[in-house]
Symmetry: C2
Subunit: 483 residues, 2 copies
């Protein structure tokens, strides 16, 4: 509960129409896309510019009130989950595109700008903004920065961090600083790079410099149906080994296809390994590459190959894939979507093991993933009306993440750690590695007010760690097989 | 002067054959590629593995002795300049390639591995390591990591930071930590990204995970001669606007051509703006693009266009460019090579102003640069036997960097700040921005022992900054026009 004095100060900072503190209204902010964690903030403030953000963070620091920034709230790891009774900054009123510089391929935006709006701004000039999370039509650039958002096309174009060159940030104590710049590779530490993906724990971005990309001459998409995920996976390896870098390679299993068909009737062939491969670039190159993809697919036993002949057909090929998460409701009462990464070469080994575990646990798993970069999205299906099944599903989903780590991978590709995966961070990283991250966190946020109790496996006071470290034998450098 | 006790401890750590402390031998380490700064270390140690590095850094921390890591010493900003009387770690004995994983396109190396050796290891499988600083045949991966090294082909392939996915680091207090991983986009802070380009100020890398790239089907190179740098610059803009991303676009002016011709007889046409444009990729695409480049060059008045018809001819086209720096000795007694970055659209404005300043100051400037990403390498020519001229040349070279900043650019593209450009950092960044970097430095290196007195404009004790910042008006966010 925030005091009347704090609320008065917040109202002064953001204006009377910039403060929400009625209980029923606050309730609407109690979670983001990860709905099994909920907390009601003490107030929601809607700043209009960096000055107001600065004033708000100063108030929070003065009174030691935790704060969380929120864009569209589409995140899947609980990154925008409020601190109970704390301050939630909504960026719904910082939605201006501040600069569009086509010749230098730069756009400067406020954090509340919607991802898809950036492309809309630059499309008339033949450009687009590359990172494309599924939530693209509604998610904001600020949230994308916090989570280092990915998407199907990040295989070729890279994650958000590749496309963010600099930013204006308000540090937790209210200081306004600038990281990076419009040019590449600025001197000093790459603090822009460290801020992207820091999940709101280092401060609040108020302006963001984006890089835009020239739209390719042509985009071509095909679908190929295989009798096993191994055959589909081998095709992915063959495509990459041939030196091609597709714009996207997506893979779906039988359960996912069934759900997608039930939901959107994309007319997918029912099979155990469905690939969607998209190539973009100059027409001469893409034509050639699509022939190669087709013959590699045939070599690996694809029994149906369909290439889109128009934009409408292409949209149809993507329709089922894009609806896959939401479609799970058609075949299961509840599901947990996970986000693990593995080396491409471990694909069939890991899929076989997930299958084995699925039978052991007695819970179905639907697999849909960005196959090109080994980013799995296993969905564990369950029924929360059956006592204990939610807990089983949750534990199973964490087992899958640990399996990814054991195979030289990672616990998140694009959704972030947030509230959901804090514990697994301790499985992936050794204590000294987490300690080093914590040192950076404390440098920016000594009071741990900025999105507290997220990302790291356990809350820790910054003063806790003083003086030199204890000796740590090289041999015990963590559970993950780093090298 | 290091005490006998410290020398004994260092000998224990690195072995008797791993310690150099004879004055005449120490002298050979007194500078790197930037020869106008010199300092003799108290000892040079040559560790064989991370254990030895750990032991050495613990000794340094215990006795508060500054230390500097050195690869091949080819850096141009004084990054490997020893701390006078301190410890210099040479990586001449940590040159193992630890792992070559072709299917997953990863190579793990020790920091002393030479850049070109990575490509040699993977070339039989059709891969290469992309970052290609001119010193590629001798410079080390460790040094490349410290400076975030670039090269002519970074326009398309990205700087070192794009190709380093993770590393083992010994922190100044001897703690061994791991940043990043073999998979992309690992959770938590991107400390691998912050370490790359940190110029040795955060600790010492002992293992580095590199990404390798498939060698393109074909590489084609042409040279085009223009009557003005503006016409050449316009051609660069036109190529990029057409949506092409060349592997490299290099530009040279008349003075540089004269020097290169005198040195290596590359048979360049003498002109005011010479472009070398290289395209790589699938043959079908590259053939088409080379035609486009040719016609854009003709449109902008190119009066000679030569396309290499063989690998030998291609090597000849590059020969003059690669020799450009060294060739300056043919036409000037001394020179200072600078490394500024500007937005592509500011190219002709900045070149005109450099020309104007050159006449005003009375010192010649030779321009050679990576035109595609606006990375200038102006060389200020002078004669150090004329009293005061070295100082004039130095001041002029800094004026050029300030000009880059005033035009929305940066003071270094790939050489780093090191010892050379510390002062100009204060021109590029506002105090709060530098303070934030310093916070990170202090988190890693509270005693400022790791490559001290580099990178930042002034030495500063980590304890100097305590408590919340002073209020800082948004309007005074620095000299650089950030937004």
């Amino acid at each position: 509960m925030l005091s009347a004095e704090v609320l008065r100060q917040l109202r002064d900072a953001a204006g009377a129409d910039g403060l929400i503190c009625e209980q029923d209204q606050l309730q609407t902010y109690e979670c983001d896309g990860l709905t099994n964690f909920r907390a009601v903030p003490g107030a929601v403030v809607l700043p209009r510019d960096a000055h107001q953000v600065q004033a708000i963070l100063r108030i929070c620091t003065q009174h030691k009130i935790p704060f969380v920034a929120r864009g569209a709230g589409t995140g899947l790891s609980g990154g925008a989950l409020p601190a109970a009774g704390g301050v939630l900054l909504s960026f719904a009123r910082m939605t201006r595109v501040l600069e569009v510089d086509i010749p230098n391929q730069r756009v400067v935006v406020e954090p509340g700008v919607i991802n898809a709006h950036v492309t809309q701004q630059v499309a008339p000039y033949g450009y687009f903004y590359a990172p494309d999370p599924s939530s693209q039509p509604v998610c904001t650039i600020g949230g994308n920065v916090a989570e280092n958002a990915g998407g199907a096309h990040c295989l070729k174009y890279g994650f958000t961090t590749t496309h963010v060159l600099g930013m204006e940030v308000v540090l937790p104590d209210g200081e306004v600083v600038h990281f990076g710049a419009k040019t590449l590779d600025t001197p000093g530490y790459d603090l822009s790079g460290v801020f992207v993906g820091s999940e709101g724990t280092l401060g609040v971005a108020t302006k963001i410099i984006l890089r835009i990309v020239k739209r390719p001459e042509t985009v071509q998409t095909l679908l190929a149906a295989f009798d096993s995920s191994n055959a589909a996976g081998q095709t992915v390896s063959d495509i990459i080994s041939a030196g091609m870098l597709p714009a996207a390679i997506e893979m779906m299993d039988r359960v996912t296809i069934q759900a997608a068909e039930a939901a959107v009737h994309a007319n997918y062939p029912l099979c155990d390994g469905l690939l969607i491969v998209e190539m973009d670039g100059p027409r001469a190159e893409v034509d050639l590459q699509m022939q190669q993809v087709r013959s590699l697919s045939e070599k690996n036993g694809a029994w149906e190959i369909r290439q889109a002949q128009s934009d409408a057909e292409r949209a149809l090929l993507w329709k089922g894939r894009k609806a896959a998460f939401a479609a799970m409701g058609r075949i299961a009462k509840n599901y947990i979507v996970q986000d693990g990464v593995i080396p491409r070469t471990a694909l069939s080994r890991v899929l076989d093991e997930i299958d084995r575990m699925s039978k052991e646990v007695g819970l179905r798993v639907a697999n849909v993933f960005h196959a090109g970069d080994g980013n799995l999205h296993p969905m564990v299906l369950y029924d929360n009306t059956i006592p204990g099944q939610e807990e089983e599903a949750l534990e199973f989903s964490y087992r899958i993440l640990r399996l990814c780590v054991d195979n030289g991978g990672s616990i998140t590709g694009e959704h972030g750690v947030g509230k959901e995966k804090q514990e697994v961070m301790g499985y992936m990283f050794a204590e000294p590695d987490l300690d080093t991250m914590q040192l950076v966190r404390c440098a920016f946020d000594p009071e741990s007010l900025s999105n507290p109790d997220k990302l790291f496996p356990r809350p820790r006071l910054c003063a806790e760690k003083t003086g030199p470290y204890e000796p740590h034998p090289l041999e015990k450098a963590g559970t993950a097989q780093f090298f």
